[in-house]
């Protein structure tokens, strides 16, 4: 017995649409898989983008609603116009942004994705054809939290938003979460009048907005990468919820795939800091009150000429880059220094802490921009055993990731976080703008170490001066 498409009540277009979704889903996974190696990463990104483009085009032409109607001409034109606006804006922003502002940008794009999910869920909630109220409400809440949370993260990374370290925030957030949960249960359990339902969905939206803000507000310091990754994961989950509403496998797979990838990345980062996720979210970094009682000692400066001699006659030099390097745009000069020293027969390596900068791999991207070969970038665990044999460690704009308090001061807020053991090397040169504390707001005793010499000033200027000094030797 032959079954025709007509018997099933579908058209060949419907089948082509589903096939395109399958192809798109495969491309997402294949693309991200290719991205796991530097050589194929670019190709992987393009494949994933192609999958997305395909799904967008076929949806526009072939999708049929519950009544079997495809997208009308006028609607299609509006969609295309909206896509054009988003594409141009997205491409322009992404092209123009400076590499140092990359973490903010990823956070910002994540916010737009969350907003889109929240809007879709909001509208679908009042759609009588939609039978999955629970999933819709969850999508609304999660998408909204991802949106407002990412916007705050964006503001913080951009220096526009400060931190709130108040004890009550914790309880306020728990309370808010409880209210949101109760409201969702209430909306699901009772057969409410449609007008009231719509009103409540807006109330839920506002509550979730506030929660997203208050959730990210107290999280500061070294924890920012973890939060961005977590919010990224939430956006994926929100998209998957919307996929559930439309019974759209590409959306479900793409969303959940990204959600779980983001979640595991979040956990990997927490592990790198030796903290639990709960600890990151609830126990935010405060000021460095705990260690403040200790004696500070004095810091010793080094002159540029002494520093250049010290470096030129070393055998092994390790550079520990941090956010300060990014801010000062010093990655190019840094590479000049490396080349110069290598010409003199000095072995130079970069020690990359997993959470250096404001995003995982932030330093790698920056240094890659300046043409530093990625074989020179050594991860923390691989370089640490080598630190005692290192003649000079140059700390450029890094602070918390080399703070020995993480190893020996149980009262320190960063106690237990693995660090690059700069203090074990024979000499340490710290380039810093001033005696300010690190992003986590904790005093760093490495600076008071006997082997440590400070070079104050903007990282770029200092490195430039150092480079010309070494050239003259």
């Amino acid at each position: 017995m032959n079954i025709t498409l007509q018997d099933l009540g579908i058209t060949s277009g419907d089948v082509i649409l589903e096939i395109s979704y399958l192809v798109a889903a495969v491309l997402f996974v294949y693309g991200l898989k290719l991205m796991s190696h530097p050589e194929t990463a670019k190709k992987g990104n393009l494949w994933a983008a192609a999958g997305m483009g395909l799904a967008m085009v076929t949806t526009l032409f072939l999708h049929r609603d519950a009544d079997g109607k495809t997208i009308g001409m006028t609607n299609a034109l509006i969609v295309v116009a909206a896509i054009a606006v988003g594409s141009i804006a997205g491409a322009v922003i992404a092209r123009r942004i400076k590499m140092t502002a990359m973490p903010q940008l990823v956070s910002f794009f994540n916010a737009t994705g969350g907003a889109a999910s929240a809007l879709v869920a909001l509208m679908e909630y009042s759609n009588p054809d939609n039978s999955s109220a629970l999933v819709t409400l969850l999508g609304l809440v999660i998408g909204t939290i991802a949106f407002s949370g990412s916007m705050i993260a964006y503001g913080k990374l951009d220096g526009k938003v400060g931190d709130i370290f108040a004890g009550w925030v914790k309880y306020f957030n728990l309370f808010l979460l409880l209210v949101i949960t109760v409201l969702i249960v209430y909306m699901l359990a009772f057969d409410l009048d449609p007008g009231l339902q719509t009103t409540l969905s807006y109330v839920l939206l506002v509550l979730a907005l506030i929660y997203g803000i208050m959730f990210v507000m107290p999280i500061g310091g070294a924890d920012m990468p973890v939060v961005i990754s977590l919010l990224n994961s939430l956006t994926g989950i929100a998209a998957a919820m919307a996929g559930f509403i439309y019974n759209n496998e590409a959306m479900i797979l793409g969303g959940i795939f990204v959600g779980s990838a983001g979640a595991i990345l979040t956990l990997l980062m927490c592990k790198a800091m030796n903290r639990s996720l709960l600890n990151v979210i609830v126990g935010s970094f405060g000021g460095g009150g705990a260690a403040a009682g200790k004696e500070q000692g004095t810091v010793k400066e080094i002159s540029l000429s002494d520093a250049s001699v010290l470096l030129s006659y070393s055998q092994k030099v390790v550079i520990v880059p941090g956010y300060g390097l990014a801010v000062a745009q010093a990655q190019y000069v840094c590479n000049d220094l490396v080349k110069l020293l290598e010409d003199k027969g000095v072995e130079v390596k970069f020690a990359i802490h997993p959470v250096a900068g404001r995003m995982p791999g932030h330093m790698n991207v920056l240094l890659a921009e300046a043409d530093v070969p990625y074989t020179k970038l050594v991860e923390m665990d691989d370089i640490n055993p080598d630190m005692p044999n290192t003649d000079v460690t140059i700390v450029v704009g890094a602070n918390d990731v080399v703070n020995p308090a993480a190893l020996d001061d149980p009262s320190s807020p960063i106690y237990g976080m693995p660090i690059i053991r700069a203090h074990e090397s024979k000499n340490i040169i710290v380039m810093k703008r001033g005696m300010g504390k690190g992003y986590a707001g904790i005093e760093n005793f490495l600076f008071f170490d006997d082997k440590t010499r400070m070079l104050f000033g903007n990282a770029k200027d200092t490195l430039q001066a150092l480079v010309s000094e070494i050239k003259e030797l």
């Binding site: 794009f109 509208m123 990224n232 590409a250 990838a261 791999g361």
Partner: protein, 106 residues
Amino acid sequence: MEEFLVYFYQNKGTIFIIVLSIFLGVEVISNVPSVLHTPLMSGANAISGVIIIGGIILLGHTELSEGISLNLILGIFAVIFGTLNVVGGFVVTDRMLDMFKKKKKK
């Protein structure tokens, strides 16, 4: 309870996809060197813009006879935001990865 069982049975295909996707995500990420964490996060972020498909469906089937409705406006914003996420995400990832590529040629 029975409601739950029915729900599970009716949506079992989807639930399979969800569970397997979770493993897929974990598996793919676990093998990524930390050098690539930032571009990877950015690329994953672009993929989470898959919500754009929902936006297109929604805006595409919005009733236009009512003139400029709230749904129309929200739908337009949903599509714009979704595209921003997708296009911006992929372009910025591509830019980051360009830096790795350059080195290869040398």
